[in-house]
């Protein structure tokens, strides 16, 4: 294993990963903060350094449409977007999962308007929770590089499209140290494209045309069952990744749960921020943290096991997103999951919707609010009020 270590930002890392995975068709439309990702791919393509085709179109809707077509033909495909762009793809996200096309899409989190904003609110990707895509969240640039590579194999093995998500600017534009793999290693990990084509000019046919509930219900159920196999598939793929690249990825990452009374739950860049704060918080109380990497499908067994430890009294779930009228989306999912399990603690929600930056001071003020929260108080502890 020859290790090449470089400084690069999240978008550059994603672009390089797409190249190393030999994506055959990339079609995208630029939007801040995703722009430099597709610029990087376009530049590699224009200078003859990209193995696949790069196609420019006039919108995100067309970008995903093009990629859907190419995926039907068996091509290894990639697209990327943010915010409004992902929302504009919505209809085709459903089509891609319904047709079981193993497309990989990077979404760089950015708040949806109105008003216009560039803040890294997670509402764009979480609005697409129910589109049938696998969702993986990243917490640093190395993880972005590695997760894109994992995503191609996972999507193809599960025949389910996969969204790789990371925070706009905080990760997309941050330069940091990345060990990047060489082509031989990636080739060892990922079988060469293309996959078998669903269409071929030699056997013209119509597929996925109008159907009734009997067939549709089977399609929906099959998609669900394929999703339920993703956690175990990802564990297996993660072990293979670890053997080749020497880095471990799991469905979730946990620290200190054996002893902790209070456990923070976070995703994306915030997860690393919380992890870095843990040693500063440890006084008399011991804190733990859990980073959720795989969000769809939610790794139910693993989360329930993690929180069934008797020592855990409080969960503080940090959401940089909001389902208006309900609360943080990760918090609602975990609340629902822990119903009727051995978890006996209380759940608190620290909400950073709008893209609030998590500092140590803000976290400490949030913890003070948690300590004084009584039954009947508002469920959400708002970062904006702290």
């Amino acid at each position: 294993m020859i290790l090449v270590t470089k400084l690069m930002n999240g978008n550059e890392a994603a672009a390089l990963a797409v190249k190393l995975c030999k994506a055959q068709v990339v079609c995208a439309y630029p939007i801040t903060p995703q722009t430099s990702l597709v610029e990087n791919i376009a530049e590699m393509w224009a200078t003859g350094n990209f193995p696949g085709e790069y196609i420019s179109v006039e919108s995100e809707y067309s970008a995903l449409s093009y990629v859907v077509g190419a995926a039907y033909a068996g091509a290894r495909t990639f697209t990327a977007t943010s915010s409004q762009g992902l929302a504009y793809m919505h209809e085709l996200l459903h089509w891609a999962s319904g047709a079981r096309l193993p497309i990989v899409l990077v979404n760089v989190n950015r708040a949806l308007g109105a008003p216009w904003s560039l803040e890294p609110d997670q509402g764009d990707s979480l609005s697409q929770r129910d589109t049938g895509w696998i969702q993986l969240y990243c917490s640093n640039v190395q993880e972005i590089m590695d997760t894109v590579i994992l995503a191609f194999r996972l999507a193809e093995e599960a025949r389910t499209p996969c969204m790789v998500v990371y925070d706009g600017f905080t990760l997309s534009h941050t330069y940091e140290v990345v060990d990047f793999p060489n082509q031989e290693e990636v080739d060892q990990f990922l079988s060469p494209p293309p996959q078998e084509a669903l269409f071929h000019p030699s056997r013209p046919e119509t597929i996925q045309s109008v159907t009734d509930y009997r067939y549709l219900a089977r399609v929906v159920q099959a998609g669900h069952r394929a999703m339920l196999q993703v956690p175990d598939a990802l564990k297996k793929i993660g072990r293979s990744f670890s053997r080749i690249f020497g880095r471990d990825y799991f469905l979730l990452k946990e620290t200190g749960l054996e002893e902790a009374k209070t456990v923070f739950v976070a995703t994306g860049a915030i997860a690393q921020t919380v992890e870095s704060f843990l040693p500063l918080l440890d006084g008399e109380e011991v804190f733990g943290y859990l980073q959720l990497k795989l969000f769809r499908p939610l790794p139910e067994k693993e989360i329930i096991t993690a929180f069934s430890r008797e020592n855990i009294e409080k969960l503080i779930i940090i959401d940089r997103n909001l389902s208006r009228g309900m609360g943080g989306i990760f918090a609602q999912e975990i609340r629902a999951l822990l119903q009727g399990t051995a978890f006996r603690g209380k759940i608190f929600e620290l909400n950073l919707a709008g893209g609030i930056d998590l500092t140590l001071e803000l976290l400490q003020r949030g913890m003070a609010k948690v300590a004084e929260q009584k039954d009947g108080d508002e469920k959400i502890i708002w970062g904006v009020d702290l």
């Binding site: 400084l7 930002n9 801040t32 560039l118 803040e119 890294p120 640093n140 925070d167 706009g168 600017f169 905080t170 990760l171 534009h173 941050t174 330069y175 940091e176 140290v177 860049a269 915030i270 690393q272 921020t273 992890e275 870095s276 704060f277 040693p279 500063l280 930056d357 998590l358 500092t359 140590l360």
Partner: protein
Amino acid sequence: MFSKDLREIRFHGRGGQGAVLSATLAAEVAFRMGYYPQAFPFFGAERRGAPVMAFLRYSSSFLMPRSRIYNPDYIVVFDPELPWETFREGLKEGGVILVNANSDLGLWSKELSNCKVHSIDASRIAAGAGLISSGMPLVSSVMLGALVKILEIAPFHILEECLERKIPQWEKNISVARRGFLEVKEVRS
């Protein structure tokens, strides 16, 4: 605590002056010296002339927060015309300001009296070397040379190698960076 050698630096400039590039190049220098750096711009659409910020933190440990920098150890000011209150905020006690100015701080000297100030006349040095774009002196390499010096992070040749690899007009930039490195000095206000 965080690793004791964690350093946090905030850059203030105007779009087009190279504050973001400087943060990235300083990160390269830190990386070459064995640190884990993080360099990132302030969120926003980039516009020439508008006030911009960039951030750099580095430490011997990878595990650092990913928030923006509110309490920097160092503040680097690319444009002496920026109002002082836009950049002074949050400087740590005992923190250092590096400013693009000649040694006479004029109106600023009172406002900056309780912190360490280092200055380098980067606009003059850059303009003198012909590093000008759209009428604006390209001060980033001078500032970078001065910053590497006051951080005491690396010998000059490390910065020289980074500039040579990353900057198109590297010869001119190395020569002004060297002047920044050699000529930056603490200002007694």
